[in-house]
């Protein structure tokens, strides 16, 4: 199976671990993620004003690229990119007036009417691979690892773009259970990490991070699982400050779901690119016996 893949800017630099672990694990599952030959930054956020059309050009251009390359579907890993591409796609599908104006402005591009479907990798795992088939491929079940599935905002809101139930999502729970881990649900699983305020008001992001991380810790989680480079950055960066404020605060590694997927498929720690995580998860994983040489060679054998 080949699916067209849109990476997003951050995945090529600071969040290369998300991309590398995704490409490796999907390849092991027989799914080739084929990067779009030409793409631009999606814009990160979806423009909300009714009279603003120019900010929709960036995400739509990428969907036109997917269309030009003959694809009916494009998959993203970054939750922010997913949300922006999806909502722009829905706008073009549902608003003929705006669609016409946008197409007429982009006179150097072919017309686009929402022909391409935008999906997130979690949906591909659930719908195109399937949990049962995935379960059969697991070489190293993540036994003993307590994972807190963190959705953040952009995978679930607004409802029209949600990949799962807005209030009671289960997609990450299903994935992580398939990987053999113990999943710890916690109330702040869809609470905002502070988003772009990390640039303008980082002092407020400390409180957002505190809320999310302490909630996860109290429920017994050891690792927070995410799909968004901004959540990863915010929640990792703030832990130093939180430890400083609260002597009982315990550091919690943040991992991308694809890193755990790659690990459980037996691809070894190099494929997971743990070297790029802000908080090194390897000591914890080692203590759980998930980084033993024995497991790695057995998996590859």
């Amino acid at each position: 199976m080949r699916i067209s893949y849109y990476p997003g800017c951050t995945l090529k630099t600071k969040s290369k671990n998300l991309e590398d672990s995704a490409l490796a694990s999907m390849a092991a599952l027989g799914v080739e993620l084929v990067e779009l030959q030409r793409w631009n930054c999606c814009g990160t956020v979806y423009s909300l004003a009714d009279d603003d059309l120019v900010h929709h050009l960036a995400p739509l251009r990428n969907l036109i690229r997917a269309k030009e390359e003959g694809n009916s579907k494009v998959v993203t890993l970054c939750a922010f990119c997913y949300n922006t591409l999806q909502r722009a796609n829905l706008l073009v599908r549902n608003d003929p007036e705006k669609r016409k104006t946008i197409n007429s402005f982009m006179d150097e591009e072919e017309d686009y009417e929402g022909e391409v479907e935008v999906v997130h990798l979690l949906q591909v795992l659930r719908d195109d691979v399937g949990w049962e088939k995935l379960y059969e491929q697991i070489k190293l079940p993540l036994k003993g690892l307590k994972l807190a599935p963190y959705y953040g905002c952009t995978l679930l809101r607004p409802e029209e773009a949600a990949i799962d139930h807005v209030e009671q999502p289960t997609i990450l729970l299903e994935l992580l259970q398939t990987l053999g881990a113990e999943v710890v649900d916690f109330p702040a699983a869809a609470k905002c990490c502070g988003s772009y305020q990390i640039v303008s008001n980082p002092e407020f992001v400390v409180d957002c991070a505190s809320n999310i991380l302490s909630s996860a810790l109290r429920c017994g989680a050891e690792v927070l699982v995410t799909s968004c480079p901004l959540c990863d950055f915010n929640l990792s960066q703030m832990q130093g400050e939180l430890a400083h404020r609260d002597s009982e605060f315990r550091e919690m590694p943040i991992l991308y779901f694809t890193q755990l997927l790659a690990l459980s498929l037996g691809l070894g720690p190099e494929a997971c690119r743990f070297d790029l995580n802000y908080i090194d998860p390897r000591p914890l994983l080692k203590s759980k016996g998930l980084l033993n040489e024995k497991h790695v060679t057995a998996a590859k054998g």
């Binding site: 090529k12 030409r38 631009n40 930054c41 050009l57 960036a58 150097e108």
Partner: protein
């Protein structure tokens, strides 16, 4: 450069042509163009730059190489009944009837100050010096207005995702005219940003040409001194004989062709 002169000149030119017609059979067709908002009749077939000079304008400073590479003569123009904004270099673009011309000699664009030697070959260096690169909204207006057909939006997209090599390759033809910056919604100075990418790539990322440095070392070690001294001792007739008798590399040959006399090759 006054308007009243140009009318006289145009009239004079037409009169001159009537005389010339007897001597030369070629009839020059005159077409109208608009320069600085005023209508002038200029001979068909001239470049915009020549047409402006024909109309009486004089370029006295910074008008460039006249060879399509310095970027000084970037011109924006419109055609009647067409909403599209056209661009071209005045020294290269031939006039068309009713072109409505405007010169953009200079556009203010932020040029960051840096000590190049201290920069690391990493995208973060570009992000630090030109953080406005993140204001790009991919509207593609820059690409549309580039007279050299550089895909400017793609250059910025490559930089945003940290691909300095790609940005350098895509912006190779840039002549720093500044039209992209003049139209940019996000107020980016694309041509300055691209130049930094090219400098970083060429100086710090591109692989070194080893055969070149080997050749320089051989020269510095004096490998060719004796041969050169021998040649310098010869008279002109002997040089001519040697020159005629030299071994030439055949036209269609593979990369591993070697001359019979290998004494002057760099190993």
């Amino acid at each position: 450069m006054s308007g009243s002169d140009s009318e006289k000149q145009t009239k004079g030119a037409t009169e001159g042509k009537v005389e010339e017609k007897a001597a030369v059979e070629v009839v020059e067709k005159m077409i109208p163009v608009y320069i600085m908002g005023k209508r002038y009749e200029v001979p068909e077939g001239l470049t915009i730059m020549k047409a402006m000079e024909y109309a009486g304008f004089k370029f006295i400073r910074g008008c460039g190489c006249r060879g399509g590479i310095c970027g000084a003569c970037a011109t924006v123009y419109r055609k009647p009944g067409d909403y599209h904004l056209y661009v071209g270099l005045a020294c290269q673009t031939v006039v068309e009837p009713n072109m409505y011309l405007a010169q953009i000699p200079f556009y203010p664009a932020n040029r960051a100050s840096y000590n190049f030697d201290e920069l690391k070959p990493e995208p973060e260096e570009i992000f630090k010096l030109y953080p406005e690169v993140f204001r790009c909204v991919a509207c593609n207006t820059c690409t549309k207005v580039c007279p050299m057909n550089v895909e400017v939006m793609d250059v910025i997209a490559a930089i945003k995702r940290g691909d300095i090599a790609k940005a350098a390759a895509l912006s190779f033809d840039c002549i720093q005219c500044g039209l992209c910056a003049s139209r940019c919604m996000g107020e980016l100075p694309q041509y300055h940003i691209a130049q930094l990418a090219r400098r970083l790539y060429g100086s710090k990322i591109a692989p070194r040409a080893e055969h070149l440095s080997d050749a320089v070392t051989a020269i510095e070690e004096g490998k060719f001194n004796k041969m050169l001294q021998e040649l310098m001792r010869l008279g002109i007739e002997d040089l001519k004989i040697l020159y005629q008798a030299r071994e030439l590399e055949p036209e269609m040959t593979g990369e591993d062709w070697q001359p019979a006399d290998k004494s002057h090759l760099v190993e």
